[in-house]
């Protein structure tokens, strides 16, 4: 019986196929059903395709103005939702005038009832002109379709083409309305396709080296990219283009000039790596930089490609000496703690082994809200017998899971965090992090520390009023041992 139907989901038995309990003898394709529609009336954690396109893929680019063609809501929600810091450094050595421009501004057409009736393309054209006037320094303007404009049939590509000619500046349309596809993953795909087809091959880098890579699917969440870039630099590898953390519009255009594509977030951006390989013959490798072991292994693999393995070894040795003792402290504290990883996608397979092997934790299971089969295969392969692999769990299932599996820590998003706390269990932000970065050597220490502080928060020993005082209040650490 490799599938499990939560008690609370008995009225919707279709959910059973989405909850797989790992059994080692199962055939490889025995996986939870995924990337299919959510059952209506669920409290799903899933978002929409627009979120996948703008929120995940393009929102990290530093020098682009984003126009959301929508009633005001989608524009408002597109603001300040991702921790994608950017610098003002441009590849040619110049400075973009505004730091964190991508975080600071969001633009929209604020469609009204009359626009819904008569169409919003005129308004969109004017909004593009306004944007170019307001922020003349942007390198490009990106347009986003939404449910409304999808339904009323506004032709964003036509507007983009027309206005690009008028302004002499790249204008790119993303047709990923909210209702497209079962999850935000549809938006990733569209984002990849558009950026590849419209941009890659259109620009040339200021300079190249024999050690150039594309770092794909690295969005610089809470500074992740900056750590990785330092590693590569020290090894002698040059990140020619990042897709898309702290990158600029033109960087996408010259991805075809790299020697290798390194794919970080395999769910959201293997697409473009594959397309680049197909069209330009540039090989790609899927990588994993979470935790010290994965980071070391994958740095070496990338370095080996360039014959720089020695340099990688040096870096790894140095870093391990730095973080080893601290990690050892946290390992002792975290050993045996039961964690459940509820990520958007790939973190559910990136983190299971490191938590188990490097921190001696017990990973009760993993889930994802938008992974596809390939991702679930990896999740499954990286878990022990009897562990859970769940597609798109809803809030009610999460409750049952926590109750039945005696979980010590949930790793999830803001939507889960405060809900899980109400169940008396700590929840760590794993989409946008608590005190990141979480990648690489230092990042894994940060993650371990954040897990440690979440679990050892003294509050968990004080949840209820006690009618009699404990003669001597133990300290949390003792307690938790």
């Amino acid at each position: 019986m490799p599938f499990k139907l939560f008690e609370v989901s008995k009225p919707i038995p279709e959910r059973k196929e989405h909850t797989y309990v790992k059994h080692c003898g199962d055939p490889e394709d025995c996986l939870p059903k995924c990337n299919s529609k959510t059952i209506p009336g669920s409290m799903t954690e899933r978002g929409c395709a627009f979120a996948g396109a703008k929120g995940v893929i393009t929102g990290a680019i530093k020098d682009v103005a984003h126009i959301v063609h929508s009633p005001v809501g989608c524009t408002a929600y597109g603001y300040g939702t991702k921790r994608y810091p950017t610098t003002t450094d441009m590849p040619d050595g110049s400075q973009f005038p505004i730091k964190d421009f991508n975080i600071k501004y969001i633009i929209g057409t604020d469609l009204q009832e009359s626009d819904v009736v008569f169409g919003g393309m005129k308004k969109l054209r004017q909004a593009i002109l306004d944007t170019n006037k307001e922020f003349p320094f942007v390198s490009a303007i990106y347009l986003y379709a939404t449910c409304t404009t999808g339904l009323i049939g506004d032709d964003l590509d036509a507007v983009a083409k027309e206005m690009e000619e008028e302004l002499g500046k790249p204008i790119i349309a993303f047709n990923a309305p909210g209702f497209a596809g079962p999850t935000q993953s549809k938006g990733h795909t569209i984002g990849n396709n558009v950026l590849f087809s419209k941009l890659v091959g259109t620009t040339e880098p200021p300079a190249t080296t024999p050690y150039d890579i594309n770092l794909i699917g690295e969005y610089n969440i809470d500074g992740d990219l900056w750590l990785l870039k330092d590693y590569f630099k020290e090894i002698g590898i040059n990140v020619l283009s990042t897709f898309t953390g702290d990158c600029c519009h033109d960087e996408i255009g010259w991805m075809h000039r790299a020697k290798l594509s390194v794919v970080r977030c395999q769910r959201s951006s293997t697409y473009i790596a594959k397309m680049i390989e197909d069209k330009y013959g540039i090989p790609y490798m899927k990588t994993d930089f979470f935790s010290t072991k994965y980071c070391a292994e994958n740095l070496k693999t990338v370095a080996r490609f360039f014959g720089l393995e020695d340099k990688a070894d040096e870096l790894i040795a140095k870093k391990m000496a730095e973080v080893g003792p601290e990690l050892e402290f946290y390992r002792k504290k975290l050993a045996g703690k039961k964690a459940f990883i509820f990520s958007g996608g790939p973190k559910s397979y990136h983190l299971s082994v490191p938590l188990q092997e490097e921190l001696d934790m017990d990973v009760t299971g993993v889930s994802s809200m938008f992974e596809h089969e390939d991702g679930f295969e990896k999740m499954k392969s990286r878990l022990d017998e009897g562990k859970l692999v769940i597609d798109d769990p809803n809030a009610l299932e999460l409750e049952e899971l926590i109750e039945d599996y005696d979980i010590d820590l949930i790793m999830g998003g803001v939507k889960e965090k405060y809900f899980v706390h109400k169940l008396g269990i700590p929840c760590l932000l794993i989409h946008s992090y608590e005190n990141g970065p979480y990648i690489g050597f230092e990042g894994f220490v940060n993650l371990a520390r954040d897990m440690y502080t979440a679990i050892y928060n003294p509050v968990w020993n004080m949840l209820e009023f006690e009618e009699t005082e404990e003669p001597d209040v133990p300290n949390v650490e003792e307690e938790a041992k």
């Binding site: 609370v8 989901s9 009225p11 919707i12 529609k37 059952i39 209506p40 009336g41 669920s42 409290m43 799903t44 899933r46 978002g47 929409c48 979120a51 929508s70 009633p71 005001v72 809501g73 989608c74 524009t75 929600y77 603001y79 939702t81 975080i103 501004y105 969001i106 633009i107 929209g108 057409t109 604020d110 469609l111 009204q112 819904v116 308004k123 004017q126 306004d130 944007t131 307001e134 449910c147 409304t148 999808g150 339904l151 909210g178 209702f179 497209a180 596809g181 999850t183 809030a395 009610l396 049952e400 109750e403 939507k415 965090k417 405060y418 109400k422 169940l423 008396g424 949840l463 209820e464």
Partner: protein, 460 residues
């Protein structure tokens, strides 16, 4: 001495100061006990709102969605909604389901009222008539492309009046429509009502649901429902109250509906921010209930007055302020900073509201200030304005925090959203106590920014 209306000179909206109707509806439904907001739209429509509400309140925001996709765009959302209602009803066993439309379901033209009927019919076969009748399932029409989140809130309260309220026996209570204010504000209102010995029905009371204790021993789990919220019975009973006070003119449709249908007298606004507005609120309460205003409240008033005497002219006079946010809160704060002797130099709201303009005209008259006023505007307009017209202080939500920082203008956080600090949702700005809190906040901000450099001035 005058109000100077500054028009928006762009079509593009840059950093909006408003969002769409469904958010207001989800907010309001969360204020009902054991209620589930069911959004009839794409998953983004629930996911984004849950994210926004959770990060502001640092609380769960449990919202169900019908997950509309391409097929619904073509064939309509009937299947999704009918199924969705049943799944919510069966799995979550709520007392109330608010079916909230969105841009997509409105454009598709779904017959929400009809679908609810269908769903109920099918449900009866599954869980029995009695169980179904116990659940109020109410349509809330909130087209995203009309007005703002406040309208969605307003439409929800109106739906409560229209679909839930039922006349029976007079109940001597007062209905309060708080508007989109924080838990701390609603608690302060209830505190004042308690001092006046008035029982109330709050339509709807998000104070506990969005600021709930962490107490596993008494919490309702599987499904989790937060403590509190207005019960359906109370909403039913709201037709029998002695009156309705909507704290905001901008969300008074429910009050007017109760007045029209059930002769429950309505008073709309002003929000009790500052001295004079709170005085007016108390007068309205007295008028509707006949209750006298007790000394205990007037002593609280006296504490605010005392602070204003001690602090306002000394530290705050003539400091210029830019205030932005929802119209009622913004105009309320503008009036209050005027009472503090400060100069509301710019007021800004995302709503296209003539009421707001009138409110500000009144403030301009009272304070003698020239007030630049922006309606239907966005935060970018404020940023551009401030480059040429710097102010001493900004008052509003977190969305302008980077602008404040870049311009080195201290920001006093109020209203929604405040996500980059903690506890603000718990801190009232309404009533006399809220006045003290807000004034303290403003004053301490001024002291830190403008007095610290000459620290000896802080010795008194």
């Amino acid at each position: 001495m005058s109000m100077n209306l500054i028009e928006k000179d762009r079509v593009a909206t840059i950093n909006p100061l408003k969002t769409c109707q469904p958010l207001g509806a989800m907010w309001a439904v969360t204020g009902i006990s054991r209620a589930v907001p069911l959004v009839h739209g794409s998953q983004g429509c629930s996911a984004f709102v849950r994210y926004c509400l959770s990060r502001h309140f640092r609380e769960p925001s449990e919202i169900a969605v019908t997950s509309l996709h391409e097929d619904a765009a073509v064939f309509g959302g009937r299947k999704n909604l009918v199924e969705g209602i049943q799944n919510v009803a069966i799995r979550l066993k709520p007392d109330f389901i608010g079916v909230i439309t969105t841009c997509s379901s409105e454009i598709i033209g779904d017959d929400v009222i009809g679908f609810i009927k269908t769903a109920k019919g099918e449900l009866k076969e599954k869980i029995g008539e009695e169980a179904v009748e116990k659940i109020k399932i109410i349509p809330i029409s909130t087209p995203s492309f009309v007005e703002t989140h406040l309208k969605g809130y307003d439409n929800t309260i109106k739906a409560l009046a229209d679909y839930v309220a039922e006349p029976s026996q007079p109940n001597e209570k007062i209905n309060i429509i708080p508007g989109m204010v924080n838990p701390g504000d609603i608690r302060e209102i209830k505190h004042m009502l308690r001092l006046m010995d008035i029982e109330s029905i709050v339509l709807a009371d998000i104070s506990d649901p969005f600021d709930a204790p962490l107490r596993p021993s008494t919490t309702e789990y599987k499904p989790y429902y937060p403590k509190g919220g207005t019960t359906v019975d109370e909403i039913v009973d709201s037709a029998n109250s002695v009156g309705t006070i909507s704290l905001t003119k901008y969300a008074g449709s429910g009050a007017l509906s109760l007045e029209k249908k059930y002769n429950v007298p309505a008073e709309l606004g002003p929000i009790p921010i500052g001295v004079r507005n709170t005085d007016q609120f108390l007068r309205n309460l007295k008028k509707l209930t006949g209750q006298d205003i007790p000394d205990s409240i007037l002593d609280e008033r006296g504490l605010l007055i005392d602070s204003m005497a001690d602090v306002a002219s000394r530290y705050l006079f003539d400091k210029t302020v830019a205030i932005y946010g929802d119209p009622e809160i913004t105009s309320g704060i503008a009036r209050f900073v005027g009472e503090l002797g400060m100069e509301p130099k710019l007021v800004l709201t995302g709503s296209k509201s003539q009421e707001f303009v009138k409110d500000i005209e009144k403030v301009a008259k009272e304070t003698g200030a020239e007030i630049d006023t922006m309606i239907d505007q966005d935060l970018r307009s404020m940023e551009v304005y401030l480059k040429d017209n710097p102010v001493d202080l900004m008052i509003g939500g977190s969305d302008a925090r980077l602008m404040a920082k870049e311009n080195d203008i201290p920001l006093v956080r109020v209203g929604y959203p405040v996500y980059d600090r903690v506890g603000y949702h718990r801190r009232p700005i309404v009533g006399y106590n809220g006045g003290i809190q807000l004034m303290d906040l403003i004053t301490n901000t001024v002291l830190e920014k403008y007095y610290e450099p000459e620290h000896w001035k802080l010795q008194q």
